[in-house]
Subunit: 310 residues, 4 copies
């Protein structure tokens, strides 16, 4: 029997890009990988102790943020991000053996896939009717069952569902990537690698016109660059947002820590989502005056000034 | 035959909240309302001259921005927003006549609906399996066809699909609203009403750490409040975003016009999406020094100063 | 013999407003008060250990900053401010006994005095010739010696120089005040009183257009109000300035300390000039999120976040 | 008889650096140059129509702003600056013929001179007693009359007062320069030269903590660099300041004009002091997005957007 600490859940079914991305993590080789029906289900398994980690897409370079993941991280019992994975996205059009491209009248796949193959479809199957499936793998299954003629999915899904690719490397945008995160119960973040990012969710003071500007200034004044900022509704009414952000650097970097404390003081709520290695391994730009050494020197100077040793 | 100028497309099928929202507009009564299979199809009909307007959801107070609408407005041939509609969202659980709640094993609906009835489902149908449909109305149709036991949709859809409500007023969040926009080909914005908003898409200079802060300062220094800001990927690669924004006021307000010109100068691209009446009829907060009168007085003063009449 | 620790120097000669202001300090009663010929001389006596403190005007509400004092504090061996005194300024026109107002053809006094009696002179002695003296008391001495007909000085100077007031309470501006500071060798600042100010001199990065704005943002982002900011040339060439500032609060206030550290990191040089009680006993405005308690809570939160206890 | 339009007043007496600086202006050769006893007197002659221009020092690279000039420009009937002159400052120590350096027991000169020869005096005449004179030329006259042994003044003053230099090129700081301005009644500023500056006096909203920051942001958001900012008391009480500023560029530059209008809207009072050629002939740094061409293009774009031609 597998212990919970040896199990990772992920947004299933099997055969999706999510599973492919998860398998790029070395530690996945030693875990039981358990597909779940939804992001909430995958994350709740971690919250409840039945799994050590959960893996899900958080952002696509064409479609944007994955709301289910963003919102699961922003609400409910706290979770933290420990790893991220970047995966280039290219689809295969899968059909039952014997199907020709000209036979395809109905096509399915995840709505995100639809957005990324729209141009290809217009050029190659202009008359095909699209109907969305809950996942790309689910679309493949529906083709297997005969409900649709073809499905867009990862080529790796073909074998699992007894399908054959009619086309591969389909993507309207050659830069398409999906970013995935591995989340776990809150714990000490991994040690800084020199190329880290820090994620948080920030709530704004209501009815305070400059609140977002102030929030950005807490980062800017400490020289912390934002990599991503995404507004999400708080659910309490139209026009009320919180912001999901990724910032350059690690919580143990002094500039990041001071920025987070500043945010903690001005925001009604801050949820720290972790510091973890950047998948693109890009080292941060550290502006003059914001290195750990300069922070430490300034703290020493202040301590001396308080003692009159100026 | 209906002339194009008398036709509005909308994201179909019939019987969705979108149609219900569209019918709240007085002008809808004199238009042919044409359901389309997708937001791009609805918008392209306007671009191509086959319709005068297109109507689609742009934001939900629980689920956030509607990516298809945001992205269609940001790319392709320009369109402008002329009206917005706010609709409170409450679902009915629709089933074939004779179905009891305890009979429901499979449930369908649009993914956005799922997010808004998740709590209700957990409490009332904890074991029901969810499968997403392309729209709520499509879900109702699938129930009619017997593919699923029940669908979440607007109560108004029951009659159309021969279904009966097992439950009504279902929503996890009592504040849930969806915001819809009526778009048309670019033209002169409606005259200001005193409670208007202005929408635009703004691209940031790449590799410029403070670019978002600068963008917000263009608004702030003219006292223009932002109502919404939403990052969207530009599609050229992970980490590249544009921002879809709604600001308080009308393009003919001097403070709004000057802010837009400032943005036009610092952003590589600005797409003006229109100025139109706010559905919530909230008048803007006009900070001291930013009224049209004060702008005009300052311009007069500058003209005199240039002449030495100080 | 008086020990150095029992001696205060001040900008002499005796009989000036400076001496009058110094005598308002309770501790002055137990010190030997030694007039000096210049601010540098007074301050150097402290630097050299011959005196415990030095007292000089730093700012006049009509004439502005006192350059000699500002520059002595900004350069040379460090000194710190321990006390400030506010003194309303009103002049008497002093003359040798027997002189009538109509006899006065030449008038003297310190240039600062001239600025504050200009209106009175224009109205009452329009034809009198003004020649500046090194101090008001020195002007009185020159009148005693017969070099001028009358001098503006404090009324308290009349007796010392054998003169009589031709007019009293002379001031063009009823709000005129002079602010004086007591400086000493660097030491631990006095404990906070709840109504303190903190003084510093800040050098800007050269050729960095937004450097002053950044400097102000270090204060603003921590909610620290500036009470005074005064540019002073650095002496290395036209257009190069440092800034002498007074901020609300005490160096031991967390918001003030963090702002000072931020300045220390971005400025090529920061000279802390002390934290001391405000003479006007005005308590600071503490913006939400900037109290010591909120700083401490944010630090605790950060420590927990670093441990994963979120 | 000379017409008023052919007369420039200046802060006298003759033989000062001010006169020397004034004579560097080509137009001075065709004007009657009239020394006045004070800056107010020199400026009032212009206000009253008795002179076309007035010339006075406004800033010294060692001593800072010249308060009399700054305050005369900030108050009273408006004047405008039309030209500026930079003059390197070096003093000669002037004495009556036959005097040796070792004979010098008393030294005089303007207080500003004292600040710039302090180091030289300490090294060469450590025991000499300093007494300030109303001007350097006045000090020379007092030496001529025998009241003091030596005076610091421009070497050019020696002949006029029958004195001889005991030392020349005396200055503690090799970068010492004084900046002078030629002011006149308000009129159309000179045409832009491509290397201009714009001067103004700005009053802050009272009791508005961030008012100075907002003021700087009006410049920053339009990419207008500040060359000088100097606080001056408004005279209504301790802690109330206005700011005398020089900005890069000409009022007819769109970025400068828009910044001035922004200031006009947020400040209770703005006094435009003119746009005029920079004496150092330094062309401005024009940040991307702030050229006149970009302003015009943005205005065109806005006009099109208002018409729906996007």
């Amino acid at each position: 029997m597998t212990s919970p600490s040896a199990r990772y859940t992920y947004l299933g079914p099997e055969g999706t890009f999510t599973e492919a991305a998860l398998r790029t993590l070395p530690e996945a080789a030693t875990r039981e990988l358990v597909p779940m029906v939804s992001v909430p289900a995958a994350f709740d398994a971690v919250r409840g102790g039945e799994a050590e980690g959960a893996f899900a897409a958080i952002e696509n370079s064409v479609e944007g943020g994955v709301n289910a993941t963003l919102d699961e991280l922003a609400t409910g019992a706290p979770l933290m991000i420990y790893r991220e994975v970047l995966l280039p996205i290219a689809f295969a059009l899968l059909a039952r053996p014997g199907t020709r491209l000209s036979d395809v009248k109905t096509v399915t796949g995840h709505p995100v896939a639809q957005a990324q193959v729209r141009g290809w479809l217009a050029a190659n199957l202009p008359d095909a009717v699209w109907e969305s499936a809950a996942s790309n793998a689910d679309g493949a299954r529906l083709v297997q069952e005969g409900r649709f003629d073809a499905a867009f999915a990862g080529e790796f899904a073909a074998a699992r569902y007894g399908l054959e690719p009619l086309a591969t490397e389909v993507h309207d945008n050659a830069h398409a990537q999906t970013r995935f995160v591995l989340v776990g119960r809150p714990g000490r973040p991994a040690a800084p690698t020199g190329a880290d990012k820090t994620s948080a969710v920030l709530w704004l003071r209501e009815d305070h016109p400059g609140a977002l500007l102030e929030l950005l200034q807490e980062f800017a004044v400490r020289g912390v660059n934002l990599l991503r900022i995404e507004s999400r509704p708080t659910g309490v009414g139209m026009g009320r947002y919180c912001f999901s952000v990724d910032a350059e650097g690690h919580i143990t970097d002094r500039r990041v820590g001071e920025a987070l404390m500043g945010l903690k003081r001005i925001c009604p709520q801050v949820r720290f989502l972790g510091s973890y290695p950047r998948a693109d391994e890009t080292a941060p730009q550290v502006r003059a005056g914001t290195s750990d050494g300069e922070f430490a020197a300034a703290a020493d100077w202040l301590a001396r000034a308080m003692d009159g040793r100026v």
